[in-house]
Amino acid sequence: MRQQLEGSHAVASAVARCRPRVIAAYPITPQTHIIEHLARMIADGDLDSEFVSAESEFAAASIVLGAVATGERAFTATASQGLLLMTEVLFNIAGLRLPVVMICANRAVSAPISIFNDHQDSMSLRDAGWIQLYVESNQEAADTVVQAYRIAETCALPVMVCMDGFFLTHTFEPVELPTQEEVDRYLPPLRFPRALNPARPMTLGGGAEPDNYLEYRASQHRALDDAAETIAHASTEYAQVTGRDHGGLFEAYRLADAHTVVVALGSVMGAIKDSVDALRHQGQAVGALRLRCFRPFPSQALVRALAGAQRIVVVEKALSAGAGGILACELRACLQQAGSACPVHGFVGGLGGRDLTVNTLTAVIDAAAKSPAPACRFIDCHETGPLETG
């Protein structure tokens, strides 16, 4: 049944159908609606779960850590400053190899403080050892959070589902929620073999020394690398149960014969698809690739998918200040490694909630066609001009 649902409501309903036993969170815009919906479901008796109102995001992350280490499914959500405050615990969750699932309602980071959307928060935690999945729509957000539990519990790795703040969390779209029966069929109950249990005592989180720390990290890296296959598989199996497939590691749009390919993450892909359509209408061979899985970074799959491209235009809402766009840097590295000389134009835009409109994006693609590939240009920046047209 398709319903007109706010993004937060859609993901909260999907989370509830995954039957988490512990939900812990601290309020932060634009994540709050997600946990408010869950709190209401618990208050109304529609969800049997312990709701823990943490005194900070640092504690919220620690609470879900403890719950999952005890062998129960858990959920948390945050954004921006909250995610940064969780940072120490997020690395720790990954190192402990706990299958925690969280939603990051993507928001800019301070200073200056801004409640609006970009990807600087989650992208800054790309090295934390979490799987990161970025979604385009409310439908995909609801479906992906269910897949996230399946992936996390299969790989013993935490998964962060990244959905754009406001553009998705506060926007109403038609959504078909997975039914409880579908979720139960797709997602078996959590079985965590290292759970804290007096009948089988185990030590979790002991110290390491120079003679074994590196091996822990190497095995974590291998696990993330191997997770790519599980992520793709989880998407395919989900499609078999619900009929909905959002792509596993990435989604291709009019890519097959494209000479110019726009690569991006998240909800901006809606506008990019419209730009691609407009340019196709003018006879230009333009396509797009939406990266759904940013960690693990699916280098081989990307190299294959982009083999026919003569020009790549990365549009990203994140920045490693002093280095440039993060996705552009990583894409260049993996293409170079594969022997590709395809130029990668790096565009950073939409920071702090600035709109990326179809017209703007079309101009970006035009600009890329008229210049060599610069490392990093800002879209629609008042300081450097409305758009650097090269």
Binding site: R21, E55, F58, S62, P198, P201, L204, G205, G206
Partner: protein, 327 residues
């Protein structure tokens, strides 16, 4: 009377890497064997975590987890919430040092208590950051020498006072909070047993001398802890719902010098007039404790059953059982 060896369970096994005379190892062995192996233990980063779980080895014969420094109380809250969700009454115990309690862990501790989690939080208080090489903490007493409060031409050790963490915890009106030391085992035993008999958040602050950081002879750990009590510097008390319900009275109050002179961390105070002034200051602090808790006044009326019952009625929402008693 139970005449069995109270340490028969060996929850904390031998072979760990604590220093000789370590008060924290002694305290942890006492507390954890009194609690037993049918419990889940959470550790904050610190000496106890380092010397018991090193390099893929573990001295713990119980389910035990360490996450980071500041979050032990929150991890325990998550464990307790998970157990509550499935109606499991397994006790949850936190073990933290004074850094993980008074300072970096205080916010998580406060949140855990405020939400009424059924968790026993045990602080082994050795009055400093001993794991990182003896730096001052919020628990370090006034005038103590540490590596970050060194006595010098302009300073006589730590400039600030020891934080009264028991009062802070007590201000949450939790069902039970108490102080104990390694020097009075039967007192510690009673308090652990009492804590285990109560639901809701509970707090135990155990003074644990550190021969390295306090600079005393390793064989005098128990003596030093006993003198901390007998001078009035570390009163042994119990709070229920934030109000004192019992204190260990002193037959006589020993002068603080008897305690200070055994420890190198106070040695500089005996070497100057300024130092002697600080000794008088420490004596005044001890006298204040004695007066506040009535340590020399066994006839002072304490809390009555009725007043504790009234407080339990007001604050007792804390003690929600995890599993409803089966009928």
């Amino acid at each position: 009377m139970d005449t069995r060896d109270p340490f028969r369970e060996n929850v904390l096994a031998a072979g760990h890497r604590a220093c000789a005379g370590c008060g924290e190892a002694m305290a942890a062995r006492m507390v954890t064997d009194l609690i037993g192996s049918e419990a889940i233990y959470v550790a904050a980063t610190g000496c106890l975590q380092v010397f018991t779980t090193h390099n893929a080895q573990s001295a713990w014969q119980v389910p035990w987890i360490h996450s980071v420094f500041a979050n032990a109380a929150a991890v325990a809250a998550g464990i307790e919430a998970a157990l509550r969700a499935r109606g499991d009454n397994t006790p949850v115990v936190v073990q933290a040092g004074d850094g993980g309690t008074f300072d970096i862990g205080l916010q998580c501790l406060s949140g855990m208590i405020e939400r009424g989690h059924d968790v026993l939080f045990v602080c082994y208080d050795n009055e400093g950051y001993m794991n990182t090489g003896v730096q001052r903490s919020g628990s370090t007493p006034h005038a103590v020498r540490t590596t970050t409060s060194p006595p010098g031409r302009l300073r006589a050790g730590k400039r600030h006072l020891k934080k009264d963490v028991l009062a802070i915890v007590g201000a949450h009106h939790l069902p039970y909070a108490a102080t104990a030391t390694v020097a009075f085992f039967s007192d510690l035993q009673d308090k652990v047993k009492k804590a285990l008999s109560i639901r809701g958040p509970r707090f135990l602050q155990v003074l644990a001398p550190c021969p390295l950081g306090w600079d005393h002879a390793a064989e005098r750990t128990v003596e030093v802890a006993r003198l901390a009590v007998e001078t009035g510097l570390f009163p042994l008390v119990e709070l229920e719902y934030g109000t004192p319900t019992s204190v260990m009275h002193l037959a006589r109050q020993r002068p603080v010098e008897d305690y200070l002179e055994l420890q190198g961390r106070f040695r500089h105070l005996f070497a100057s007039d300024r130092g002697r002034e600080e000794i008088r200051h420490l004596q005044a602090l001890a006298d204040t404790h004695v007066a506040h808790y009535g340590l020399l006044d066994p006839d002072r009326p304490g809390a009555t059953e009725a007043s504790v019952a009234a407080r339990r009625h007001a604050w007792g929402g804390y003690a929600r059982p995890r599993r409803e008693p089966s009928s």
